[in-house]
C-alpha cells in the first residue's frame, strides 16, 4: 500500500516536472523546428513538421551573417578574454586571501562595487581611454574591456576557492623552499582547477552572449561578433524568418553543445562557486 502511494507520488512528480520542462524547452523547439521550414510554411503552419526540409536556409543565414569571419572573431575574443580573466582573477584572489594588505582590501571593495556600475555610463569614456592606448576598434580592445569588466565577478568566485585551499599545504611547500610564484602555480592553481572550469564556462557564455561591449569596441564589419551580426541581420532581413531563425539556431548552437557535453560539470561548478563566494 505504502509503496503504491510512493509510486503514485513519484509518477505525478515526474509528469509534473516533464510538463514544466516541456514548456521551458518549447521556445527552443519551435525555433529549431521552424528554422528548416520554407518561409511560407513558417507564416501559415508554425506548429507543424516541415513539409520540405529547407537546409539551404542555413547556408543562406551563414552567408547573411558572414559567419566565417564573425565566428572567428567571437572565438578569438571570447577564448582569449576568458583565459586572461581566469589567470588574473586567480592571481588577485590568491594574493588577497593569503597576503592581504591595505591596498588589496581597497581593491577588493572597488572590484565588488564595480559589479553595480551601469555599462552605459562607461561607454564613451571607455572608448576614449582605449583610443589613447590605440586599442579601440580592435579585437585587443574588446578583449581587454571584457577582462577589465569580468575581473570583479571572477575574483569574487576565486576568492572563495582559494580560501578552501588548505594553508598547511602552502606552508609545507614554503618550507621546502618554494617561492610564492611556485606555490601559486604548483599548489594553488591545481587545487582550484574545478573553479577554473566553472568560471571558464560562465565567462565564455557571458562574452559569447554579450552585445553591448561588442557594439562599441568592435564596431567594424571586420571585427563583428555573433551577437552584433545577429542584431544587424534582424535589422536587414527581419521579415525573412527563414533566414533569421537559422541564424538564431547557429548562434546558440555552441552554447547548446557545451551545455549537453558538460551539463553535470556546469551545474555542479556553479553551485559550488556561488556557495564559496
Amino acid at each position: 500500500m505504502k509503496i503504491r502511494k510512493r509510486h503514485v507520488v513519484g509518477i505525478i512528480k515526474f509528469v509534473g516536472t516533464l510538463i514544466i520542462a516541456l514548456i521551458f524547452f518549447a521556445p527552443f523547439v519551435l525555433v529549431i523546428l521552424n528554422s528548416v521550414k520554407p518561409q511560407s510554411q513558417i507564416m501559415t503552419d508554425i506548429l507543424g513538421l516541415p513539409t520540405t526540409m529547407m537546409w539551404e536556409n542555413y547556408s543562406k543565414a551563414w552567408d547573411a551573417l558572414n559567419m566565417s569571419t564573425v565566428l572567428t572573431n567571437t572565438v578569438i575574443v571570447s577564448i582569449s578574454s576568458v583565459f586572461l580573466i581566469l589567470f588574473l582573477a586567480a592571481m588577485v584572489a590568491y594574493w588577497m586571501v593569503r597576503h592581504p594588505s591595505k591596498y588589496s582590501r581597497v581593491f577588493e571593495k572597488l572590484l565588488l562595487g564595480s559589479l553595480l556600475i551601469p555599462f552605459a555610463s562607461l561607454m564613451l569614456p571607455l572608448v576614449k581611454t582605449m583610443s589613447t592606448l590605440g586599442l579601440n576598434t580592435s579585437l585587443m580592445g574588446g578583449i581587454l574591456t571584457y577582462v577589465g569588466i569580468g575581473l570583479a565577478f571572477a575574483t569574487f568566485i576565486m576568492t572563495g576557492a582559494v580560501r578552501a585551499v588548505p594553508v598547511e599545504l602552502e606552508e609545507a611547500a614554503m618550507i621546502d623552499g618554494c617561492n610564492v610564484y611556485q606555490v601559486f602555480f604548483q599548489i594553488v592553481l591545481p587545487i582550484i582547477r574545478p573553479t577554473f572550469l566553472t568560471l571558464f564556462i560562465l565567462d565564455l557564455f557571458w562574452i559569447w552572449n554579450d552585445y553591448i561591449v561588442a557594439l562599441i569596441m568592435l564596431n567594424n564589419t571586420r571585427l563583428n561578433t555573433v551577437q552584433l551580426a545577429i542584431n544587424k541581420l534582424f535589422g536587414l532581413h527581419a521579415n525573412q524568418w527563414d533566414i533569421a531563425l537559422p541564424a538564431i539556431v547557429m548562434s546558440i548552437a555552441p552554447i547548446l553543445i557545451i551545455n549537453i557535453l558538460l551539463q553535470k560539470k556546469i551545474i555542479a561548478g556553479i553551485a559550488s562557486g556561488a556557495l564559496k563566494g
Binding site: L30, V92, F107, L111, I117, T129, I248, I252, I267
Partner: protein
C-alpha cells in the same frame, strides 16, 4: 634590501596587471563619467560646459522620464525577483531527489540561463508575435488573442515571463546544492517529531539554506535592476515607453537625445540606487541568517 624588493615585486606581479586593466577599463572611465555628469556635453561635440549639479537637479524634475523608468524598473524587479526565487526554490525542491530524468530536467531548466539577452529577446519576439498569434487564430483562446507586446500590462507580463524563464535555472542550481547540504539528521529528527514534510521544508531546511538564498536574492536583484538587452530585443521599451528600464533610458538619453552629460548623471544616480537596494538586501538577509543561527 633585496628581500623587500622581492616582496614589492611580488605585489606588483600579482596585483599589478589586474589593477592596471581594471583602472583602464573601469576606474578611469567611471571617473570621467562623473566629470561628464557635471557638464552639458552632447556626446560628440569638441566642447562642453561645466554646469555643476544642474543635471542631477533635472533628473528629479517633475516630467522626468528617469523617474518613470525607475518606477517601472522597481515594480518589475520586485515581481521578477519574487517569482524567480519562489519558482527556482520550488524546482530545487522538486529535483533535489534523483529520479528518472532528473539530471536532464535540471539541464533544461538551466539552459535559458546560459543564453544571451539579445538572442533570447528575438526568440521570444518570434513566440509572442508569430506563435501566439497563430495559436490565437487556430485555438481561438482569449489569452492567445491578446496583443502581447502591445499593451502596458501584457508587455510587462511578457518581460516577466522571459526574465523568470531565464533566471530560475540559476536559483534552482544553487538551491539544489544548498538543500543537499542540509544534514540528514536534522530533517530526520523533525520527521520523528511528527512534522510534515512541508513543515520540515519551511522550518528546518529553508532557515538552514539562508546564506544561499542571500546569494540568490543578491544575484536576482542586481540582474533585474540592470535589465537592458531583453527590453531592447523584446519590447524596445514600448508600448509608448512604458517598459523602459533605467539602463535603457540612460542609453536613449546618451545616444538618441544627445544628452550625454545628463545621461551620466542618471547613471550615477542609478549606480547609487542599485548600491542602496543591494546593501539593504544584504543587511536584511544577513540579519535573518544570524537570527537562524
Amino acid at each position: 634590501m633585496n628581500k623587500s624588493f622581492g616582496k614589492k615585486l611580488e605585489h606588483i606581479v600579482f596585483l599589478g596587471p589586474a589593477t592596471l586593466l581594471f583602472a583602464v577599463v573601469v576606474i578611469i572611465p567611471f571617473l570621467i563619467s562623473i566629470y561628464f555628469s557635471l557638464t552639458d556635453w552632447n556626446g560628440i561635440s569638441k566642447t562642453m560646459n561645466f554646469i555643476g549639479f544642474n543635471n542631477y537637479i533635472n533628473i528629479f524634475s517633475e516630467n522626468s522620464r528617469f523617474l518613470q523608468a525607475f518606477g517601472f524598473t522597481f515594480n518589475i524587479s520586485f515581481v521578477i525577483v519574487a517569482l524567480t526565487n519562489i519558482i527556482g526554490i520550488g524546482l530545487a525542491a522538486l529535483l533535489i531527489n534523483k529520479f528518472f530524468g532528473s539530471n536532464l530536467f535540471r539541464a533544461i531548466f538551466f539552459l535559458p540561463n546560459t543564453m544571451g539577452g539579445v538572442v533570447m529577446g528575438y526568440i521570444w519576439r518570434f513566440i509572442f508575435l508569430l506563435v501566439i498569434q497563430y495559436l490565437g487564430m487556430t485555438l481561438n483562446w482569449a489569452i492567445f488573442k491578446l496583443p502581447w507586446l502591445g499593451t502596458e500590462e501584457t508587455a510587462f507580463v511578457a518581460l516577466v515571463i522571459v526574465s523568470v524563464w531565464q533566471g530560475v535555472g540559476y536559483v534552482m542550481v544553487i538551491m539544489i546544492a544548498a538543500l543537499a547540504g542540509v544534514p540528514l539528521e536534522l530533517s530526520e529528527a523533525a520527521k520523528i517529531d511528527g512534522a510534515s514534510s512541508w513543515r520540515t521544508f519551511w522550518k528546518i531546511k529553508i532557515p538552514f539554506t539562508m546564506p544561499y538564498i542571500t546569494v540568490c536574492l543578491f544575484w536576482t536583484i542586481a540582474t533585474a535592476f540592470k535589465m537592458f538587452d531583453i527590453n531592447v530585443a523584446l519590447t524596445k521599451g514600448g508600448p509608448y515607453g512604458s517598459t523602459t528600464p533605467m539602463a535603457l533610458q540612460i542609453y536613449y538619453d546618451a545616444f538618441n537625445s544627445n544628452r550625454y552629460g545628463f545621461a551620466n548623471a542618471e547613471s550615477i544616480v542609478f549606480f547609487l540606487i542599485i548600491f542602496l537596494v543591494t546593501s539593504i538586501q544584504l543587511f536584511l538577509s544577513r540579519r535573518k541568517e544570524r537570527a537562524y543561527e
